[in-house]
Symmetry: C2
Subunit: 174 residues, 2 copies
């Protein structure tokens, strides 16, 4: 395949995926960081207001979510329903606070993978266990919709405090 | 921007990202599943053989990894070093078994996000805690290098058995 053919095939692949998304070409690192921060700020605001409509608006329709105890929800209807159930049961009034956007790694077509560190207040689980204040690391795969990013995948991991001293890389708390 | 301009911009964005990757155009779902399965099989084989060279070969050089207790390793050197340390300390001889590739969601440029469910044998943590046999859900962001996929991001979450009965979506064990 000559260069013209390669370019055509790649453009086809990109356009084929664009579908509902209306992608808008290359994005520089500063602009991408701004877009990631907008999602993260939106997430924090939606969480702290228990505003599940605002949270739903952050999702790509194809979103998958793996929550902190390993449940896997597939598609916006289930991800939305599960979050509403858990805010009714335990998260309403439990504060989250952004500690850091630790990394932003670009993927194709203006998307990014971001790792976010959150502080989370205490809450009582549906099983009756009292979870003390702690910290989570959330991996988000973010894909563009026009000029903003939406969440295509979330995986949220508890930062087990007692384990952090054994991190082979940092050998410290974070 | 006219259509020709849009195509040119998108091709530019794709080619700009291609860099070291040598992308190869659109991939159908069956072929993509085969490529995902090859990475997952490779991961299982490398893990069960404690073969950290084989595991390293699965990574994109830009790989990030969030492990099951929330440590965040950034770049292939640290991800590789951390895995070698943990295989020396605790994982050598601990079996993992694939339970399911639960989902494959395509992202741009022939990449995918896959969620994998693993059964993991018992092991003793560096802190001396005995972790019983259990299950994990691993989110992998996979990006193409030629005709194969490599791991650009991994986030591994313990499936907390006692919590699964409270899943608002499944209301069952998985």
């Amino acid at each position: 395949m000559d260069r013209r053919g390669v370019v055509k095939a790649m453009a086809g692949a990109t356009l084929g995926l664009a579908g509902a998304n209306a992608r808008s070409g290359p994005v520089n690192a500063a602009e991408q960081e701004k877009r990631v921060r907008a999602v993260v700020d939106g997430y924090q605001t939606a969480w702290n207001a228990s505003d599940m409509d605002a949270m739903r608006a952050l999702y790509d329709t194809r979103v998958h979510w793996v929550n902190i105890v390993g449940m896997h929800w597939q598609g916006i209807a289930d991800v939305d329903r599960a979050h509403r159930a858990y805010f009714d049961q335990m998260f309403r009034g439990v504060p989250i606070t952004l500690e850091a956007i630790e990394s932003i790694v670009p993927i194709g077509d203006g998307g990014s993978i971001a790792v976010i560190r959150w502080a989370v207040g205490a809450y009582r689980t549906p099983g009756g266990h009292m979870s003390p204040p702690g910290r989570n690391r959330m991996s988000l795969v973010l894909m563009p919709h026009g000029d903003e990013l939406r969440i295509l995948h979330g995986a949220n991991v508890e930062i087990v405090a007692a384990a952090q001293a054994f991190d082979p890389i940092t050998r410290k708390g974070d």
